[in-house]
Amino acid sequence: MASATYLSNPKVTINSVDLQDMCSAATLNVVFEALEDTAFGSTQRTYVSGLGNHELTLTLYMSYAASETYATLSTLVGTQTTVRVQPTSAVDSATNPGFILTGTYLETLPVLNASLGELSTIDITFQGGAYTVDTTNP
């Protein structure tokens, strides 16, 4: 029987600040650059793992109020930080792993993205950093 996952309540923290209620989409790609090691005698191309180059993209509702999106991100742009995403807000476990990027870099922060009649949202991307998975309850 097919099993599908419907995630409506993922947890998102940036520099330990919980932005779950401001986030509407999150995509974490774990990437290891492919280094080609195909050689004479090969009949197909082959690759080995290179540097990790992970990326987390978040869609956040923008708010300039205290302790909200802008206050969290405005001084993080151009710096490294730690971000964490989890399928649900429950404690860490094998079935609710915490995906962590430590020392990840926020290059760009759209400080204003407004359209008439719409809630303001921004898309931000954290690049690089060390990828770990936490499955133990702290």
Partner: protein
């Protein structure tokens, strides 16, 4: 240095904040998420003083 939580986004307001090693404290301070602990006098600081006063009484008994 100890910090106290102001914003519920980092924990329970009023409680002491114990940051993980990777947390950028400066960002949390400038964003108003936490404050240095000595800036916010709390009720839970008082029992320590009361405890000191009651000790001599118990010694007399």
């Amino acid at each position: 240095m100890k910090y106290r939580i102001v914003s519920p986004r980092v924990g329970t307001p009023g409680e002491i904040y114990e940051p993980e090693v990777w947390v950028n404290i400066g960002v949390l301070l400038s964003g108003g998420f936490i404050v240095p602990a000595e800036d916010v006098p709390q009720e839970d600081d008082k029992p320590a003083k009361t405890k000191g006063k009651t000790k001599p009484l118990s010694e007399e008994n």
